[in-house]
């Protein structure tokens, strides 16, 4: 028996000239999945694609077997808490959620009952009859969460759901995620802080500059990032490239070296950045004149820097 999954096949999305995401292929099983990446990396774009708020330029998306172009079927089982911090001017927390539920075909009393239950789960009952526009940032975040879960979806897409929550609500919310995951639901959340999600996630998708950099269980992802061969362009002075290359070849973390025709530059692939950096230091001390070392694979390196930076 195959599990229902969220499947992206070669998805690309451009906003005019601007890259949203590029050739993303994903297969997300149920459980808690975190999309992690720095600002502007494409997390919201991916989530909007999942829920049909935007459409891909290329590729195919299936959400538990349903296309996002069929909102009638998809949204019945999907809840999406967006990043857009807006609510209709007329809405109180309670009417906001009730109104949304009416569109699912619930009768008024059932809609109100469900709305109340959702507000209860996010401890918003005290503020239920106040205008959403007058809520604090964290309360607005919670009311969006409440709206996403009010109809009991199997597939939850939550854009930075922990952002702005106080520790108590955060813990409760995380417990909620775990409970849903245990029921076999999809809980897809995004974050730009890895530590915030790595403990609770069943899997993590690392994304940078619109591309998936690594995907899998959190330990595996770290290893993968570490082992992901990095490319550097090394330039030397006085046509010394072949000498440097000969020395680098002696290191066992180096997988490939391509020498430039001008005999001054080379493309180096290494499996271990730190050892590579140490090796370059030794070579320079030996009297070889290295002019510059530039990472050629910015996506991975940017994310790597970012992850390392985040752990400090």
């Amino acid at each position: 028996m195959t599990q229902p999954a969220v499947v992206f096949e070669e998805i690309s999305k451009f906003y005019g000239e601007v890259l949203g995401v590029n050739r993303v292929t994903l297969n997300i099983p149920p459980g808690i999945t975190s999309l992690v990446g720095p600002n502007g990396s494409g997390k919201t774009t991916l989530m909007n694609l999942m829920t049909g708020l935007i459409f891909p330029d290329h590729g195919r998306i299936l959400m538990r077997g349903i296309s996002p172009r069929d909102p009638e079927a998809l949204m019945r089982m999907t809840g999406y808490a967006t990043q857009y911090d807006t609510a209709p001017r007329w809405a109180t927390g309670f009417t906001f959620i009730t109104t949304g539920l009416l569109l699912f075909g619930y009768g008024r009393s059932e809609a109100e009952e469900r709305a109340w239950k959702a507000l209860e789960r996010l401890s918003l009952t005290d503020a239920a009859n106040r205008k959403v526009a007058a809520y604090s940032k964290g309360m607005r975040q919670r009311v969006r969460l409440a709206q996403a879960i009010a109809h009991d979806p199997e597939l939850l897409v939550l854009d930075e759901p922990l952002n702005g929550l106080d520790p108590l609500v955060r813990a409760e919310t995380i417990d909620m995620f775990r409970a849903w995951a245990a029921e076999g639901k999809h809980v897809i959340i995004s974050s730009h802080v890895l530590q915030e999600v790595d403990l609770i996630s069943d899997q993590v998708v690392l994304i940078a500059n619109g591309m998936i950099v690594a995907e899998g269980k959190i330990r595996k992802v770290r290893d993968e990032i570490e082992e992901h061969p990095s490319q550097y362009i090394v330039r030397c002075r006085e046509s010394d490239a072949s000498g440097v290359a000969a020395l680098l070849f002696g290191e066992d973390h180096i997988t490939e070296i391509k020498l430039n025709d001008d005999r001054m530059g080379m493309l180096v692939m290494t499996r271990d950045r730190e050892q590579f950096a140490r090796a370059l230091g030794r070579i320079a001390l030996d009297g070889h004149r290295i002019e510059s070392v530039v990472p050629a694979d910015e996506n991975v390196d940017a994310l790597y820097e970012y992850l390392i930076g985040g752990e400090r």
Binding site: Y15, N48, T51, G52, L53, I54, F55, P71, E72, A73, L74, M75, R76, Y80, T82, Y84, T86, A87, P88, R89, W90, T99, G100, L102, L103, F104, G105
Partner: protein, 513 residues
């Protein structure tokens, strides 16, 4: 009722419509739509109240027999009219006063007798204000001097001097040549200050009367006549004595009495204007003219209501349905509902349609009621029996169908375009010049069908230019069922196009504004 059935979708569209309705009816932006819809009824109400108070006020002073009122003729005197017709229902009088030039009746000639006669060899005319129109040019056609016998002009052909003349042929000698009929070459003309004309009589002679012939005596405009001057005499040419002068300004107040009185026979009001006690104008009109008011209603309905009020009202309501939510960043809530996009479109369109049809159909009926209200019950009853109820129905129907048509168009425009101003201007132009296009193209305009639905053609004077006539009326009006079918087909097509757009629509808040 499964969600994917037609019924289920219709129910969902209705749920969406109900949610949206409240917003459309009570949004602050809807208030000016109400204003547009209610403006004509306010105008008619004002007109009715005005006419009613007039009738009440005039009636209180007593009624006049219609035949007697009609018998008043122009030229009759005030006393005659009052004696024959009786006390008027209203009377006002005023005096108009106007400053006019005193008419002397002697065509620009002034005479200045001197009592007793003086002896003089030199006589001199000093001009201090040379004209009535402000022109600083003195024009004298003849300056005559008479002795006690009064017969011979002592100045005739005597040597004359004066200020530098305007032209060579207009020297001082022309004022003593005994003629005024030779045109401008027969006058003395000067613009050089001081302005004077002096004649040497040859020897000291008794002088008793002067005659000055000014511009108008020579055929020029009266305004060029000399306004202020004096006459001096001298025996030696050195010391002069003033012996005469002009009478001054030469203006008088002309007073005209204007009296306006009105008679009222219960329905008609006769307004009479008396100038200096005689009837100058008479104007008899009905204070409340049902037929005229109905024609005015037809005009307001077609020119203001259909073309402007409903047009812009629908623009405000329907463009907002999607475009407004995009700029408020709330559109994604709708897109995240478990509903097909075209169901969403249908729900929103229904909400806009119900709201606008209620506002404008109701507005049309209210205006119709305000138009009818002040009129005589018997007259109204007769009209009602002769198809009046049908008229009211078709006006309301045309207004509602206007919302159907314009609503779909603005909904579609709001889905495709960001800025409403240019498409609205283009559409307004298209709708209003459409009448001059061939018949096939006319069928692409909402207004064409709406005009065909109106029960009464818009009033038009017989001297309306052909172009406007073409613009205002469809060349070949469709039959009512044809017009409704055409309008609905056009609407269905536009909604289908809108459906294409809404299915492709993506949330892109950042790029908005």
């Amino acid at each position: 009722m499964t969600p994917r059935s037609v019924q289920g979708r219709a129910g969902q569209a209705w749920t969406i419509a109900k949610i949206e309705l409240r917003r459309v009816f009570f949004a602050r932006r809807s208030f000016w739509v109400y204003g547009l819809a209610l403006l004509p009824s306010v105008i008619f109400l004002g007109h009715g109240i005005d006419a009613k108070t007039d009738i009440e006020r005039l009636g209180r002073r007593g009624l006049t027999a219609p035949a007697l009122m009609d018998s008043i003729r122009e030229g009759e005197s005030l006393d005659d009219v009052k004696k024959r017709v009786g006390q008027p229902a209203a009377e006002r009088w005023s005096v108009r006063s106007r400053r006019v030039r005193q008419r002397t009746g002697n065509a620009g000639t002034t005479t200045h007798p001197i009592e007793p006669p003086v002896g003089a060899r030199f006589v001199r005319l000093n001009i201090t204000r040379p004209s009535f129109n402000g022109e600083p040019v003195a024009r004298i056609y003849e300056f005559e001097v008479y002795g006690p016998d009064g017969r011979a002009n002592l100045a005739l052909h005597r040597p004359a001097t004066g200020s530098i003349p305007c032209g060579q042929d207009q020297g001082p000698e022309k004022a003593v040549n005994g003629s005024v009929t030779g045109g401008q070459a027969d006058r003395w003309c000067a613009a050089d200050w001081p302005l004077f004309l002096q004649v040497d009589l040859g020897a000291v002679r008794p002088v008793q009367r002067f005659v000055v012939k000014h511009a108008s005596a020579g055929g020029e405009n009266e305004d060029s006549d000399t306004r202020e001057f004096n006459i001096q005499v001298s025996e030696n040419g050195k010391t002069f004595t003033t012996v005469g002068s002009s009478t001054g300004g030469g203006y008088v107040d002309e007073r005209t009495e204007v009296r306006q009185i009105a008679y009222f026979d219960g329905r008609r009001r006769a307004d009479l204007v008396f100038i200096d006690g005689r009837v100058q104008h008479r104007n008899v009109r009905r204070l409340l003219d049902f037929e005229e008011d109905r024609a005015i209603f037809a005009g307001i309905f077609q020119y203001f209501y259909l073309r402007l009020a409903i047009f812009f009202g629908c623009l405000g309501i329907f463009m907002y349905l999607f475009r407004g939510e995009m700029s408020n960043r709330t559109l994604h809530f709708w897109f995240l509902a478990p509903a097909r996009r075209d169901v969403l479109l249908a729900g929103k369109y229904a909400a806009g349609l119900i709201a606008s049809a209620v506002i404008f159909g109701g507005g049309a009926l209210l205006t119709f009621a305000a138009m009818i209200w002040p009129h005589d019950a018997v007259e109204v009853q007769a009209y009602w029996n002769a198809g009046g109820m049908g008229h009211a129905f078709w006006y309301a129907a045309a207004a509602a169908l206007g919302c159907v048509g314009y609503g779909s168009v603005f909904l579609a425009i709001g889905l495709y375009l960001r800025n409403p101003i240019i498409p609205a201007a283009v559409l307004l132009t298209w709708e209003s010049v459409n009448g001059i296009f061939p018949h096939v193209l006319q069928k692409m305009s909402i207004l064409y069908y709406l005009q065909s639905l109106c029960p009464v053609p818009a009033p038009m004077d017989s001297d309306t230019p052909t172009l406007i006539r073409l613009l205002a009326a469809p060349a070949a009006p469709a039959s009512r069922p044809g017009a409704m079918l055409g309008l609905l087909l056009l609407t269905a097509f536009v909604l289908w196009v809108a459906g294409l757009a809404v299915r492709r629509m993506q949330i892109s808040y950042g790029a908005e504004t």
